[in-house]
């Protein structure tokens, strides 16, 4: 709860070197939503891929309603 962030092992060790153990949930954020998605030779049809992804989403990202929010930077000039 306290903000003594430097006491947390995750924070203390992160960002020093590559090869640190990573949390599966952080990795899945990136591997399922990120990366270049190109059609390899083994392709499930687009609709099927979506189905697979949706069922994965159910496991990895069931969203709790109280998390609702949109971040907006006021002077959004991007």
């Amino acid at each position: 709860m306290a903000g003594a962030v430097e006491e947390r092992p995750e924070f203390r060790t992160a960002g020093q070197v590559r090869g640190q153990p990573v949390a599966l949930v952080d990795l899945l954020d990136r591997l399922l939503a990120g990366g270049v998605v190109i059609a390899g030779d083994v392709t499930i049809s687009i609709a099927d891929v979506d189905l697979v992804r949706i069922s994965l989403r159910a496991v990895i990202a069931s969203i709790r309603p109280e998390m609702a929010r949109v971040l907006e930077c006021e002077e959004a000039d991007l």
């Binding site: 090869g19 954020d29 399922l32 270049v36 697979v52 949109v70 930077c73």
Partner: protein
């Protein structure tokens, strides 16, 4: 599918491709193994290098994938192997990670993909060169409204009213805490966004997977010039100290998973309304 499709015999071998790199020496990966504990090969074509390893098309064919992708243990093993290869390469060269389970039927097919998509891969490599992805998550431990809160009208002669008043005070307090926590997360994000080249929001994480009991306020990725990495990390530390009610965690350095594809602005999803 595999039984009906002669191109996918059960014993066939394909190639799993982890990412695309350039200027990566053969020995850079050392003894890093890929999925199925297979040795990783560098398939070079016209200046681009695919990080690849052989896989069984029984396991990584269409039918196999359909089943395996639903298996969290298999998914974890594959995701970690994918990451190990990408991460090892990213320590030495610019890498554009590919999505999970990109599989080709032969090395020649991998080469063809490198030729056909040369422009797309080259653009992506340019975009992430000299930059690193960092993750920042923020949580608040907002009290549930039924907790403690002895505020309001204990000695009232009208118990019903005092109960309602008490509930109202509790509700308002909880809402105020949430509002403040959200404002802090917004401030953290906006400060970090100013340092980053670009950002991407990930979805809030499932507490069952993250083990986090707090309310997740922020799950963002930032692509940061390596010359500003130190400033970025110091700013995270500073922001975390500034706001003791909100826990801030940084992860990374990551290969640029979240920035391998240029995101169209409208793709950024609003988190759902309560």
């Amino acid at each position: 599918m595999s039984e009906a499709d002669p191109r996918e015999p059960s014993a066939a071998t394909g190639f799993y491709v982890y990412g695309i790199a350039r200027d990566l020496a053969d020995e850079a990966l050392g003894d890093t193994r890929g999925v199925s504990d297979a040795p990783v090969r560098l398939v070079e074509e016209d200046g681009l290098i695919a990080l690849a390893s052989p896989v069984s098309l029984t396991e990584f064919g269409e039918r196999g994938l359909r089943e395996n992708l639903e298996d969290l243990d298999w998914l974890e093993a594959t995701a970690r192997a994918h990451h190990a290869v990408v991460d090892a390469a990213a320590a030495h060269a610019t890498v554009v990670p590919l999505g999970l389970v990109t599989v080709y039927r032969s090395e020649e097919r991998v080469r063809r993909a490198l030729r056909e998509r040369k422009e797309e891969f080259t653009d992506a490599l340019e975009r992430v060169a000299g930059r690193t992805e960092w993750g920042v998550k923020a949580y608040a431990d907002v009290r549930e409204s039924q907790s403690t809160a002895s505020a309001g009208g204990e000695g009232s002669s009208r118990p019903g009213t005092s109960y309602l008043q008490r509930r109202l005070v509790q509700k308002n307090t909880a809402e105020e805490e949430r509002r403040k926590a959200m404002a802090v997360a917004e401030y953290v994000h906006c400060q970090l966004r100013d340092i980053a080249v670009t950002t991407r929001m990930h979805r809030p994480q499932d507490p069952q997977l993250s083990g986090e009991q707090g309310w997740m306020l922020l799950n963002a990725a930032y692509l940061v010039d390596d010359t500003r990495a130190q400033e970025f990390r110091e700013t995270v530390t500073h922001l975390a100290r500034l706001n003791p009610g909100v826990r801030v965690r940084v992860t990374g350095p990551w290969a640029p998973y979240s920035f391998a594809v240029e995101e169209e602005p409208e793709e950024e999803e609003a988190w759902p309304e309560p």
